[in-house]
């Protein structure tokens, strides 16, 4: 790896990290697992002047549950999520990220602030209606996942803010499904669909569907959700609702997937994810 020249600091506290970011200006970047940033630096598509490494900042990793909320530290690696099955769809999605090496190093906070619409966790966080806690020079604030992703690799965080924690409502009793489509298991999703369903007596009380890589930001599929909410959950109603999965999306095309094909995949994967979430398939 031959990146452009940069300065490096590994502060021992969050305050120092924030202050380093502030002094570093717009060209300063936080380094967590490095699995998004370092490849970009290696290709010289990113050339930050300063890397602020969070590895020495205490208290940023770990998963805890209390008061109906999951609290996930920003530096929690994907592998920990993968091996915490109680996290439901988050765990299922984390298990599909790249390969074991990436899952051991890559972090949930890094993935969310990178804001790549093709990454697994952003849309999942939207489906789970999680929020993130961010710390800046003037204190702490909370950003709902639904408002976090502002544009292609652009988030609502200011340049001198650090995402410290993800908070997510406990979805005990909800069914879930994560359907990721890629050519090879280590690839980014060509399209992925996450679904969580709260059913009572076969009726859909609530449902949320997240779409990965179907636009410049991660998305929800409101038309699917509306079509299913309050309905009897069966193969037919799910299939009908899933037909609207690509409604209003404008997915970016590439060599291996046209926009039309991606919309088709979204519909198929949505149906499969919902069937799983509704317990109709395994």
């Amino acid at each position: 790896m031959i990146p452009a020249e940069f300065d490096y600091t590994a502060p021992a506290s969050l305050e120092e990290a924030i202050s380093a970011l502030r002094q570093g200006g717009e060209d300063a970047k936080l380094l967590a697992g490095g699995h998004s940033l370092l490849p970009l630096m290696k290709l010289r598509l990113a050339a930050p002047s300063l890397l602020v490494d969070l590895r020495r900042v205490p208290g940023l990793a770990g998963v805890a549950r209390g008061n109906g909320t999951w609290r996930i530290g920003a530096l929690t690696p994907h592998a920990v999520l993968e091996h915490t099955p109680e996290l439901g769809v988050v765990s299922a999605a984390a298990a599909t990220i790249a390969d074991p090496q990436v899952r051991n190093r890559g972090t949930i906070g890094g993935s969310l602030v990178h804001g790549d619409p093709a990454s697994d966790l952003p849309a999942v966080m939207m489906a789970c209606e999680a929020s993130v806690t961010v710390q800046g020079p003037s204190g702490q604030r909370t950003i709902p996942a639904l408002e976090l992703f502002q544009g292609y690799m652009e988030t609502a965080l200011a340049a001198d803010e650090v995402l410290t924690e993800v908070r997510m409502p406990v979805l005990d009793g909800w069914g879930f499904g994560y359907e990721k489509f890629n050519r090879r298991s280590e690839d980014w999703a060509m399209v992925a669909v996450s679904a969580v369903v709260n059913a009572r007596d076969g009726t859909c009380e609530d449902v949320r569907v997240g779409l990965t890589n179907m636009g410049s930001v991660p998305l929800r599929a409101p038309a699917v959700e509306e079509a299913l909410r309050g309905k009897q959950l069966d193969a037919e109603s799910i299939a009908a609702a899933a037909e609207q999965a690509a409604e209003g999306t404008d997915p970016p095309a590439d060599l291996n997937a046209s926009a039309e094909y991606k919309r088709h995949l979204a519909r198929v994967l949505c149906r499969r994810a919902l069937e799983k979430a509704a317990g109709l398939s395994s």
């Binding site: 452009a4 020249e5 390969d99 489509f181 050519r183 690839d187 046209s258 094909y261 088709h264 198929v268």
Partner: protein, 806 residues
Amino acid sequence: MTTGGAAEQFIRVAAETTEAAPSPSIHVGQAMRRKEDPRLITGKGSYVEDINLTGQLWAAWVRSPEAHARIVSIDASAARARKGVHAVYTHEDLDIEASLPMIWVPPEIEVKTPHHPVLAKDEVNHVGDPVALVIGDDRYAVIDAVEDIVVEYDPLEVVVDPEKALEEGSPLVHEQLGTNKVCEWSLGGGDLEAGFAEADVVIERRIVNHRMAGAAIEPRGVLAEFRADRLTVWSSTQVPHFLRLFLSILLGVTEDKVRVIAPEVGGGFGSKLQVYAEEIGCAWASMKLGRPIKWIETRTEGFMVTHHGRDQIDTIRVGAKRDGTLTAWHAKIIADLGAYQMLLTPAIPPSSAFVMCGVYKTPAVQTDIVMVMTNKFGTDAIRGAGRPEATHMIEVTMDQVAHELGMDPLELRRKNFIPPFSNGHETPIGVTYDSGNYGGALDKLLEHIDPADVRREAEALRKRGVYRGIGFSTYTEICGNAPSRVIGPKGFGLQGGGWESATVRVHASGAVTLYTGTSPHGQGHETGFAQIVADRLGIDPAQVDVIHGDTATGPFGLDTYGSRSLSVGGEAAARAATKVAGKARQIVAHQLEAAPEDIELHEGRFSVRGSPDKGMTLPEVAGAAYVPDNLPEGMEPGLDEQSFYDPENFVFPFGAHACVVDVDAETGKVSVVRWVAVDDCGPAINPMLIDGQVHGGITHGIGQALYERIHYDESGQLVTGTFVDYALATAAELPSYETDRTETPSPVNSLRVKGVGEAGTIAASPAVVNAVIDALRPLGVDYINMPLTPMRVWEAIHEANGGVRA
């Protein structure tokens, strides 16, 4: 029948029986673990990147972002002023007159070859074309400096589609050639017209065999040191001897003063069978500056400027009678060579023609090749080099014929197999296959997999929307690149020989070194060759050190490619060892007062027949040879023998592969769920090494069929320039392969062996395509071109359904 001049020259070779060397097979045939692995898997291997010299400087290249443009100006002033930068060179500075080499000069055939400079002169012709060479203190300094160099380009019209490049009025890649069509070549035999006239059905298919990369784990790298009038170059190459020759020619240093070392080389797959601009440029700069110069390729450069392979548009026509009898094959190949003729670029498509009737009796066969230049990087040999393309055409088309005739694809194959032969079968093309038993390999395959079982499974799976299919490939190929008089200047036209060399040196202590002229890069020669030599000398393979890849040790050699190492280089090693054993017998006979013909190898000793207690071990013989106070009259001291071996024919491995796939009809995703391979490369020297080659080979073939593709967009930009976009199959995508062998001896060499490095790749891709088509026939899909990406398969299903979304 029409054939080109070179085709006429492509002489018919009779297979010749060679006497087997009399030695017991103790180690040969054993699945001995690789001697090279302990050092490689514990990080003790030394690759070019691991080697550093005092005073070493680094090189980096300014590369064209344009696919075709005139260079208006180059401003390197900022880079030259940068701290740590020693020099920036452009074409003006380079006093190398000669072109980078291309060595195919077929008799009576014109091959138009543009000048190929180390640094672009006036014009760039593909993305990545080197424009300037930067030398500096370290890798960071030179790569930073590259970004400081401002090159102004005046873009020219770009052509990337070979068919468009052939059209009148197409932009020309090289204006001075006056055309993009740089060579036409034909090879055939038999009466094609009569063949097609006899046919009840004629099937024609347009088969695109797309461009792919070698994608070796270790990128290329060079370290060049010119010191005291001697040039030493370490390079991650398959061909150190070739490189030495061309360094000598291009840089004007005589060969005796040039040493090339290929240290550990982490894979090549043909992509390091080349003499690259970077190798010549770094050596030149070392001579210029008097400092060692090092360059290690980035992966991005690897995809851009390490040669690609395949890239043919094939139109294949086959005639058959109603009963399945094949009457004629006619292949028309448009070969996209890219922007320059590299070492063997135009000689690769003709390799398709040599096996264009596959394993089948066919009275008439014709291959017409048109080679065309485009604004892409050069193509050259990539694993299989021409034969995968031929096999793909033949084997995919066989299934198409079977479907047309309503025949079982295996029945069609069996009906047309050349019957078993052990000592030569001449095809209408003029190539003489050495030995074959194609039905035998297929029989063995069917012991492992029953198509009826797969069909039953397919029925059950279809209810779940999964379409299971089975596809076969029965292949032969031509390898063991050798017979000099066939491939050489007066034959096929390569400006070189095809022999191989070996020296077996028994040291005074009895330790043995084998120097081979082959240059392995992952195959396992150190193990296999040691097994061969050990058996001939009555010692353990662990006692045979195999030295390779250094032009300063051992005799001149011709390196490793074309599955040639074992059948040519291994045979040379066997012959050199046999010479040593012969001398040892004479010494032993003399010392023990017996007749040389009565000395036999028995339990590691050269002993007198009938008196096993009377004998000498190899160390004892070596002692006698190097302390020569009691040698036979007139015998020279020493125990050190050399062999140069030039075979009479190529060798033709063959086999039968079966692939089972599941296709998710909704998404188009193909999963390979089972692979059974029966390969025949003659008697095994080391079955484990064969399995290793077959596994890798199949993976390469599946890779091309489903995943890997080098793709340029219309403006000539490389779209697949990282491992994110260039999708290599990983273990997660592949099933465990089931391998088996049949062993049909080759009459060509005393080991009776054939090559196996490329066989898996040559066999694999059509089996995948046939399996997918077999799976999707119920949905009306008849044919799909590679790579079978999910979208492409989905579109094929979609189209077959008359536009109704599946």
